[in-house]
Each structure stands twice: as C-alpha cells, then as structure tokens.
Symmetry: C2
Subunit: 375 residues, 2 copies
C-alpha cells in the first residue's frame, strides 16, 4: 500500500483530496490535526477525540523529550500506548520550539544547543537526535530538524538559514534511508523554509523535492508576515512540490487561512487556535466567531451552533457554558474545546466533500464570508 | 408510589438498604452523592457521571443563588435542564456555607444576614427564602435552613442554636405543607443538629421526628470533633430517627467514615473528598490510598486499580496520569476524578449488595483495614 494516494484535484483551484495510509489508520485530506503538545490534547480524552472524528493528532518532540522523556515513553511501548491513542500521530522536530527560546539557544552547523525552559539544563538537537527521539516516540509522521528564521530576517540571513535547513534535511534523509523503526513504519517529511523571499522559498521547495521525502511541510509562516505574503509563499511552495506527496502547512491557522491554503493545494493543518481560544472563551461556528464569556449570553438557551453535531451543541446552552466560564469550572473549557475542534474538523471534512463534488470554490467563498464574522 | 421504601435491615448491624423514588429517577441506598457545587461536578460531564453509575448529585444553594442566580436557572426550566442532568438532585439549604463565612454574617431569629464572598453584597437567608431558591432550582430533595454551630461551642450556645434550628425547621415544615413545586414533586429533609452534646442531639432528633419530614439529615459533624464523638452522635441520631424515612449524613467523608456510618444506619452521603483529592493527586482504591503525583509512579504501567471498571483504569497507566499531573494537564484531574468517584460509588454500591446478602459486617471490617492503608 502506498503511503499517499491522490483522489482528486479540483478543476477550478489547486485544491485536492487524498488518502494517507499509516500503520495506525488512514487519514483523509484535507485534514486538521488537533494539537496534543504534552501527550494530551488539552482538556480532552482520546474517546472525545474519536467522537469528533479526529483522524490524526500532533504531539511536540521538544516538550515530550524534556517531560517525561522519550526514553520513558519508549519504555511504555511508544507514544500511542503511553497516551492510549489508537490513531495516527504526527510529531514535529522540536525545532520550532527551540528557535522560539531565542535567548537560551545557539545554532551551529551541527545543530542547536539550548537550555530547557523548565530547569535551564543544556541540551543539543541535531538532525539525527530529533529522529532518534521521534523513533522512541513512534509517531507515524516525523519532521526533519529545520531552522525557522524570524519574519524580519535579512535576505542574507534567510539564505544562510535555508542552506543550513537543507544541509540538515539531507542528513535526515540519509538517516531515513537506512531507517529501522521500533514499532511500525514511520514517514519523514522535509520542511520548506525561506521566509517571505520568493527566490529562497522556491529554491527550498525545489531542492527538498530532489531529496524525495515521503511528504513535505511548509514551515516558517504565520509568524508575523501579512496574509498576502503568506498566500504567496504557500502558492510558490505548492507549485513546486510534487503532486504525489502530501503537503502540510505548519501551525496555520484561522478558519479562513485554512480554507485559502486548501485552495492553494495544501492537505494537512495543525494549530493551537481552536483549543487555546476555547480555553479563553471564544468559539467558532459556521456563522462566525462568538466571544462566549460575554454577559449577553447569560440567559441564552441556544446551543453554540444548532447545526453542529458535537456533544456540546447536542446537550448544553450558551448560557450554561458562559456560567461555567464565569465560575472557573473546567467543564466549560472542555465543552468549548470539543466544539471548536469539531468545527475545525467539520471545516476540513466538508472541504474534502466539496472538492469531491466539484463545488469547492463556491462553497469556500461563501464560507470565508461567514467564518470571518463575529456574532 | 411512596418516596421511601426500606428493603432490608441487616441482622448484625443497623445497616439497611432502601429505595427512594423521585420524579427524576430512583436511588438505591446506601448511596454516595457526587458534589456539583456550581451546577457541575468539578471536571466531569453528565455522561461521565452516568457511566460511573451516579444515581444522584448534590448542588449548593448558596453558590447557585449568587451565581448565576436561582431566577436565571428558573428561566432555563430549573437546574436539571440548566446543567443537562437527567437524574435526581439534592440541594443543601445554603446554611452551612453561610455559617462558614463567620466574619461577614449575622444570625437573628428571622434568619441569617450575610455578605457575598464574591462581591460583598448583602443578602438574607430565611427558612422561607432558602425554600424559594430551592423551588426555583427544582431539586428533588431540599434541605431546611439550619444553624451549624462550631465544634467548640458551649452547651448554652448549642442549646440556643438547637432551638433556633428547630424553630426554622417548624417554619419550613409549615411552608412545605402547602408546597407547590414548579416542575415536579420535591421532598424536604429536616436536619438534626446539637454539636457533640448527646442530650441536645437526641432532643433535636426527637423533636424533628415529630415534625414528620419526608427525610432527615444529620448535620454539624466532621467539623473537628473526634471520630468517637462523631460515631456517638450518628448512633444517637439513627436510634431516634424513624426507620421508614431516609437518613443523610451531611459532608461525610473518608471511605472508613462512610462504612462506619452505613453500619450505624445511614443511607445517604456526600463529600468533596473524592473530587478534591483527585485534583490534588490522591486516589482511592480497594487496597488503599495512592499519592499518584509521587515520582515513584513515573514508570508505572499499571492502572490505578486493575480491578476497577472505570474509564481511567480501563485505559490509562499510573505513569501516564502522573505525567499529566506533572505537566499541569487537565486530563489528569479528570481521569483521577472519574476514578475516585467510581471508587466511592463502588463502595456504597457494594455495601448495598453485602447488606442484601447478609454479609455486610464481615465485608465492612475487611474493607476498613484496606481503605485506611496508604500504598
């Protein structure tokens, strides 16, 4: 069985739908991946994630390496068993978190030296080390170590950074060539970088394509650049990346960003927005955003979205959830998280259906109007 | 249908099992009632409470009166609808919370004047007012307003307090005589007080019995007195209270306290201990308590209790739950809460079976040894 099967490409846009086959289950794209940073999607149980039809979740190599440690997780038989998640998992390389540490990390040709944000202890991530960690974790999809340059980098720095990312990608690709996983097959994705420089972006996409990874991520976006710049970089990347490999836009984003990126030919997404906003009291619906903490929902007996099929919308009112926020009750965070993730999964799942039906462009334009609205 | 049907009284002890019939379902005793202070049992959804076989939950009149307000809950059609809980609810009178406010409340013959712990606003609870609130909430079982005197009170104060509690109970009983509920039948319990003074306790039990309430609570215990004093007060009360009415020991307690009180003829219990301890990292099992946060559980791949049938024990290891605590993840609080409540419900449910089998005393003595142990 091939890892990736392209099902259909839209006639009017670059949108596509595909199926990924992994040892832990299939993934139908476009797909949104709930973020489970520390081996748990914040506030939810695996059963709740299955119920909202999550196909794959993401976990963070940096966090799990520090706590509880990838060695400990290996002792449990890998991350799937440790957290009792029976579907696919994608792990990042830890690079993004490490580069966010800014003042307590140092990059050299071999990798990146950093201090733990927890206890200040010193660690080194190299292309090989992050693959070793991801082997211990046993994710289905792994990421290469890359550098995510600041949005404000000079062209000179962007070019140097791209060269380094490429060098690391080559090393990772070679390790992957003779890869022996611990539990089941794992697939390695290269990461397109290059900031918002069109030339470096295309060079990055082209040279990575030559390395023939099982899949490709588009990294370094949604870090402060404009919507237009982001869109341009996504299109440059998807124009070059091979049609017969999955494409994953890292850390993006708002519902409208996801719809636009699907139109540009992206297959996979992850973002903390649905889970984080839920905990802050903002929920997403087909008719726009709702700041549910607001006093005006106090007596509101309607569900968050009457057309939504999630546990929250089938059983609870806005007024009750608002009361839970107002009194600091954890059930409020849970109910909003269930709903927001279900919305994101509905959005990508419906995008898939509309691509299949040949109606994507029309549906997407309507949907963009709605989701950018605040109720 | 009678509200209360006594099924069996143990031959060797005063233990008994009974069935309560309410508009929202039946309750088989002995029963533990999970505490849902603010219209949610902390961290859990109604579905999770059904799954662990909760028969009835408790909610707090004081908290709900202040937030979101009993009028608002009435607008939702009562507390059951507001929180989407389809089984019985017991509400306290708010008295205990108000008396805990100490410095910001003042008692007189009419009731108790207090300031909200939230915003300092002034409120008055009278016997009638707390019944009005509980009518708006629409609980299945209501409590009369009582005074819970400090454990260190003088005999003189205890006597005066008992007279006041009795006066309020009479008023409440009269109101209940012409009671018209909003949604479905509601039953009112009187509350035996009297501190740890045997004479006042028995007077309280005797005089309340004359008022012929549908049920009786034993209040003012587990507030600092010794285990022996508590046991004596429970026995005095259950010796006097009528056999054909339910008996509810308020706010108690540890697993061993509950087993002892069942032996003394108590039917109903509530306590924050299983939920609060879960959030602090201590779990209860048939073999003793476990401080799950401890580093020694880091690599422990066993469930909390292999013989427990809860979602947590069927799916997760001590090591994983310990990791969730260690990283501040909410799922850890949830999993421990599910388990601890399931344990309390198992304990009271099994007590019922053993009473039915005529084996209660033997089982209870064995169980006390185990549950007082720390693993």
């Amino acid at each position: 069985m091939d890892f990736f099967q392209l099902r259909i490409t839209d006639h009017n846009t670059k949108a596509r739908s595909a199926t990924l086959f992994t040892a832990n289950g299939i993934i139908e794209t476009p797909v949104f991946m709930p973020v489970g940073t520390q081996a748990t999607v914040k506030t939810l149980s695996p059963d709740e994630l299955y119920e909202i039809r999550s196909q794959i979740i993401l976990a963070n190599t940096y966090h799990l390496y520090l706590r509880p440690g990838d060695g400990l997780i290996r002792g449990f038989g890998g991350l799937h068993r440790f957290m009792n998640w029976k579907k696919p998992i994608l792990t990042d390389s830890g690079g993004f978190q490490v580069f966010s540490l800014k003042d307590i990390r140092k990059i050299n040709a071999e990798g990146v030296l950093f201090q733990s944000h927890l206890d200040g202890s010193r660690h080194m991530f190299t292309p090989e080390k992050v693959l070793d960690i991801q082997r211990n974790l046993g994710s289905d999809i792994m990421m290469v170590l890359d550098e995510c340059p600041a949005h404000t980098s000079t062209t000179e720095y962007l070019y140097k950074s791209h060269e380094l990312t490429l060098k690391w990608a080559r090393q990772a690709r070679q390790i992957f060539e003779r890869w022996e996983p611990l539990y089941h097959p794992q697939y390695l994705f290269g990461i397109v970088q290059g900031g918002i420089n069109p030339d470096i972006r295309s060079a990055s996409a082209r040279l990575l394509t030559e390395l023939d990874f099982p899949g490709y991520a588009i990294g370094g976006l949604a870090v402060g650049e404009s919507k237009k710049e982001m869109a341009a970089m996504i299109n440059i990347s998807t124009d070059i990346l091979p049609a017969d490999k999955p494409r994953y836009l890292m850390g993006v984003g708002k519902p409208e960003d996801i719809l636009n990126a699907i139109e540009s030919g992206v297959d996979m997404f992850d973002c903390v927005m649905p889970t984080r906003n839920a905990r802050n009291g903002t929920v997403f619906t087909k008719h726009g955003r709702i700041v549910l903490k607001g006093g005006r929902f106090k007596e509101d007996q309607e569900p968050i979205d009457a057309s939504c099929d999630c546990y929250t919308c089938r059983n609870f009112s806005r007024g009750y959830i608002r009361h839970l926020y107002n009194t600091g009750e954890i059930l409020g965070l849970r109910l909003a998280t269930i709903h927001n993730l279900r919305f994101y999964l509905w959005l990508t799942g419906t995008a898939r259906e509309e691509i299949m039906n040949g109606n994507f462009k029309l549906w997407k334009d309507e949907m963009i109007d709605k989701v950018t609205h605040t109720i």
